[in-house]
Symmetry: C2
DNA sequence: CGTACGATGGCTGTCAACAGGTTGCTGTCA
DNA sequence: TGACAGCAACCTGTTGACAGCCATCGTACG
């Protein structure tokens, strides 16, 4: 899907809007911008050194991703999650990823898929703290990506911001506790056997456990 | 979730951006703007009599909804769907709605839910042509809404544009053929019995059939 | 005749400014 | 002292304009 920097084969000319989206996403999911705090266009545009118009486009995207919620009169706030919403998010996530593993388990040739997933798990095994979270999310995103179902991948990515907020809400240590390589390995194993039902059950169990762990 | 106009209790002062989103959504899903046709900001802003900045915000939202796809150099086009993408969309939709009916079937008191769904079906029964499509989508959206899972509802709505494009792609007559009240009634019946697995199977079957019918 | 180079038009990226409405404060008057 | 009118600051909605990039076309030169 995405790319190596590919030296000499085209530079990464990213628009200010994309940069703003990325910066705000980090600021929100890292807690730098506290939940429920108001997002004032004039303030943010000055902080980021961009015009309000450009910022507004970026905010509109974050809003669609669920990181920003709208209040009265178009006023925007950093989204605040309660326990129920976290459970809801993980329920939807589980449904999407169950579809993903079902598709993967149904593939005739699963060798490359298994190899990619195992590689992602290896990365996760050695990573710690924030890097481990990134590795975990990367594993799950890769799962969706490998299905070749772009709509599925897009839906998952739309949820990624909310997932990250859930993680931040629960705290780093508790979140990292969810990212056990063994539990993930079980999912990959189930895909490898080609048993779609078992794979879906594995994902479902994993997600139930993870969400219960986050909100406990 | 959303609302009746609520006479005398506050008028619907909708921003130009929201109006533009609505107008473009209709234009695209009705085929007025043909798939793959380029969306030139200067043209559209003049047609809609709004400024480019306002239009850009609207386009950004439609892009996230999957009605607009991005080409090179920020150029935007009406999204074009092929058969595989339609199958993909319906696979994701099935996963989301399966979650919805599972939740609903698991409810202790399902009387109000059943009543609402039956009412939606009654509307569908009498409607014809485009109105029937609206009634059908409304039924499925209501299902998601009744779960109380806002994330689920949001994800479904994000998909609604793509669903509408699929319908347009297939043609009105073939789409209406999917909207048999009897088939939908089976789903509601399954929810009423409280059998989550059966309800999920009913949805899955319905979606498989619908998607196969659309792309055949 | 073919190729390389320069002008031109079209379209997006970005910005600064204006307009309208709401909130909150302050000073005055009963 | 309390309430109300008026004012001021704040913030979003919306707009028009400028700048830069890319593609295309025409032209001149080998």
């Amino acid at each position: 899907m995405a790319g190596q920097p590919a030296a000499l084969l085209g530079l990464e000319k990213t628009s200010l809007r994309q940069q703003a989206v990325a910066a705000l996403r980090v600021a929100i999911t890292s807690g730098e911008l506290a939940p429920s705090s108001p997002l004032v266009e004039t303030e943010l545009s000055e902080m980021l050194q961009i015009s309000r118009g450009t910022l507004r486009e970026a905010m509109r995207q974050l809003q669609q991703e669920g990181l920003i919620s709208a209040g009265a009169r178009g006023r925007l706030y950093v989204r605040h999650l309660d326990s129920k919403e976290i459970r809801d998010i993980f329920a939807v996530r589980a449904a999407l990823e169950a579809l993903a593993v079902r598709e993967l388990a149904g593939l005739a040739d699963r060798t490359t898929v298994i190899a990619e997933l195992r590689a992602a798990l290896d990365v996760m095994d050695t990573a710690v703290l924030e890097a481990r979270i990134e590795a975990d999310l990367n594993f799950h995103r890769t799962m969706c990506s490998l299905t070749g179902n772009d709509t599925l991948l897009h839906s998952w990515i739309s949820l990624e911001g909310s997932i990250r907020m859930s993680i931040m809400f629960a705290g780093l240590d508790r979140a990292v506790g969810n990212m056990d390589v063994g539990r993930h390995s079980a999912i990959v194993d189930a895909i490898e056997t080609g048993d779609a039902d078992e794979a879906a059950t594995a994902i479902q169990t994993h997600m139930d456990w993870a969400s219960a762990n986050l909100v406990s």
